[in-house]
């Protein structure tokens, strides 16, 4: 016998509220989870208070194994043997995440605490530190005077030059590999792979010996940008290649079937579909180089002045500024180095945010 929709019931159903029954857990299970989570923590807290064992050791050698055990027992008690495997995976992955999170936050924390000392003193917020340069400043000058504005400009200039060179070439290389698919693909891939193994100081040495010692150019932002570009290129090329490879072949065939040329397939279909990924490739490329110090020591040297000409003069950059200051036996200089490190990090954050906004996929909101 068949059933027919009952109109009376529709009114009843329209009063229904959306619910998420899968998020609810039985009270007994909740209690067990609470005990399994709190007991090891409480035990470790006691040990920490009443023994001399250092905190990190307790965390790694006592807390994690204990938590694993507790979660395992709780899982076996509620779900049987299969639950145990589940809980081990969960505790391990949560533990690993927590571990890296702790390391990351302690690095960030010390960076922020020590860095703020340079930017924020008894005299309040020191905009001078952000906007002034290093002229007439020696290591013992109080922090109220001088700053790293010139190094920020230098870093931005060098990274911009590097990006202008490495991003187009890197993306073009990826397009050659995944779209053009010419005969040289294996060699190009091998070459790019080999290039990603170049130590950064070798990139600097290369520019120094080939272009600077030979007299072709000065030690300058441009020379630094070239050295950075050498390091950036393989990262951009390889990441972009991976991203383009993910674009389904159907899309290319579909575009060709509409009478498209190869160039239009790449420009109008493949690259737009891979836009967010390509932006990621660029971000990873910038991230690869922006903190590199060694190549700059050889190619752009340093300067105390604000240099705006990228071709003629040595120029300061944030990594070299940090490198110079951190080694000095003056607490003020070391604080400046921490401040510069903080500024470098914030700069990276700003650049990445801009890139993400530019690369936002208007259409596919759910991705």
């Amino acid at each position: 016998m068949t059933q027919v929709l009952d109109r009376e019931q529709i009114a009843e159903w329209s009063a229904q509220q959306p619910q998420r029954p899968w998020t609810k857990k039985p009270a007994r299970l909740q209690a067990r989870i609470a005990v399994a989570a709190l007991l090891p923590a409480a035990l470790v807290a006691l040990l920490f208070m009443y023994t001399e064992i250092p905190g990190p050791v307790l965390l790694v050698a006592v807390y994690f194994p204990l938590q694993l055990l507790a979660a395992g027992i709780a899982a076996v008690a509620t779900k049987g043997r299969q639950g145990a495997a589940d809980s081990v995976i969960i505790v391990l992955s949560v533990g690993a995440t927590l571990f890296s999170f702790i390391i990351l936050t302690s690095v960030l924390g010390s960076l922020i605490v020590r860095g703020l000392e340079a930017v924020w003193g008894e005299d309040g917020f020191r905009s001078s530190f952000l906007f002034q340069n290093n002229v007439y400043i020696n290591p013992s000058t109080p922090l109220e005077y001088g700053g790293l504005g010139h190094a920020v400009i230098g870093t931005l200039m060098i990274v911009l030059i590097a990006s202008l060179i490495a991003v187009p070439i890197g993306i073009a290389t990826a397009i050659y590999i995944t779209e053009v698919r010419g005969r040289a693909v294996p060699y190009v891939r091998f070459f790019v792979q080999a290039m990603s193994g170049i130590p950064s100081i070798v990139a600097g040495l290369f520019i120094l010996t080939v272009l600077i010692v030979s007299g072709a150019m000065n030690q300058s932002a441009f020379a630094g940008g070239l050295a950075y570009a050498i390091l950036m290129l393989p990262t951009v090329a390889r990441t972009a290649e991976e991203v383009l490879r993910l674009i389904p072949e159907d899309l290319r065939t579909g575009a060709l079937a509409l009478g498209s040329t190869r160039a239009r397939v790449v420009l109008r279909v493949v690259l737009p579909a891979a836009k967010t990924g390509v932006i990621t490739a660029i971000i990873l490329g910038v991230a690869r180089v922006i903190g590199e110090t060694a190549p700059l020591l050889l190619t752009s040297l340093k300067s105390d002045q604000t240099i705006l000409n990228p071709l003629t003069d040595p120029i300061a950059a944030l990594p070299t500024y940090i490198f110079d200051n951190v080694a000095l036996p003056y607490p003020g200089a070391v604080t400046r180095a921490w401040g510069a490190a903080l500024v470098l990090m914030i700069l990276v954050l700003i650049l990445f945010t801009i890139a993400r906004i530019l690369g936002r996929d208007r259409l596919n909101r759910f991705r």
Partner: protein
């Protein structure tokens, strides 16, 4: 019937004469727009099709039928030079479009594909474009100039039976459409460039009966002006939309052949080959 039986040389020779007769019959029908001559196809060392001779008269609908894996999609892709995109692909024989071999060295495949459009077995809308953008993408990609874009969008989406469902959200992402809606979208996309020949690879396999009927209506309508080749697994559909039918068959690990071809009424009403009779009556394998 067993594989060995229809592989025997005697039967194969019989097929060839049947083919030739029907081929001649077709020629008398009208000008031939597209024609494949002795086309054999390889993927690497594996030969998947052999000696396919089919002529497509202008402004007619030809259905290609046959069991899964017998090479229908492969064949249809040789007709607008998409086959060559697959690494290791090879081909023998020739495909004549308006009397000229499309595989001649001085022929630009882009030009061929512009005139011989295609709808694929799997819907492939461009994810970076809106619904409207997808319909018009052919014009952008091929550099064709056509005015009144809004009219084109409405017209082609209506032909594809999708207009009413999407007219209020032409600017949202094509990826948000359901599978069947995407399929109708790519049909509209193929129509917007106004091809002379349209190759359709199972265009209705993901569609509901209403949309299917709408597409079939569109195919009949279009066939007044263009030549259509449609692959289908739906026998009723082949009967409903096509003027001619070609039946493909491949034995296991053997290349596929056209077993029988001719006017659809003959193929379904009085097939000469036992295998065709079995297949069109759903008694195969």
């Amino acid at each position: 019937m067993s594989t060995a039986e229809y592989e025997s040389t005697a039967e194969y020779e019989g097929d060839v004469t049947v083919l030739e007769e029907q081929f001649m019959e077709q020629k008398s029908v009208g000008p031939i727009e597209l024609e494949s001559q002795d086309v054999s196809v390889w993927f690497g060392q594996r030969k998947v099709l052999e000696g396919v001779n089919i002529a497509f008269p202008k402004n007619t609908v030809t259905a290609l039928i046959g069991p899964s894996g017998c090479g229908k999609s492969t064949y249809i892709r040789t007709l607008n030079r998409l086959h060559e995109l697959i690494p290791g692909a090879a081909l023998a024989g020739s495909v004549l479009y308006e009397g000229k071999d499309i595989y001649d060295t001085d022929i630009d495949p882009v030009h061929i594909r512009l005139q011989i459009g295609m709808v694929f077995q799997k819907p492939n809308p461009f994810p970076s474009m809106t619904i409207r953008g997808n319909v018009l993408s052919g014009l952008k990609l091929s550099g064709l100039k056509r005015d009144q874009h809004d009219d084109i969008v409405e017209e082609t989406l209506t032909s594809a039976g999708l207009w009413n469902e999407v007219k209020d959200r032409l600017d949202s992402a094509a990826g948000e459409l359901s599978g069947g809606q995407q399929q109708r979208l790519v049909i509209a996309r193929a129509l917007a460039v106004q091809p002379h020949v349209l190759l359709m690879d199972e265009p209705c396999s993901a569609l509901d009966p209403t949309s299917t009927l709408k597409i079939e209506e569109t195919i009949r309508e279009l066939s007044k002006d263009i030549t259509i080749v449609i692959v289908t697994h739906n026998m009723q559909q082949a009967v409903r939309v096509s003027d001619y039918t070609a039946f493909f068959l491949a034995a296991e690990n053997e290349p596929g052949y056209v077993i029988e071809q001719g006017p659809t009424t003959d193929i379904f009403g009085s097939p000469r080959d036992q295998r065709t009779l079995d297949y069109v009556n759903g008694r195969f394998g």
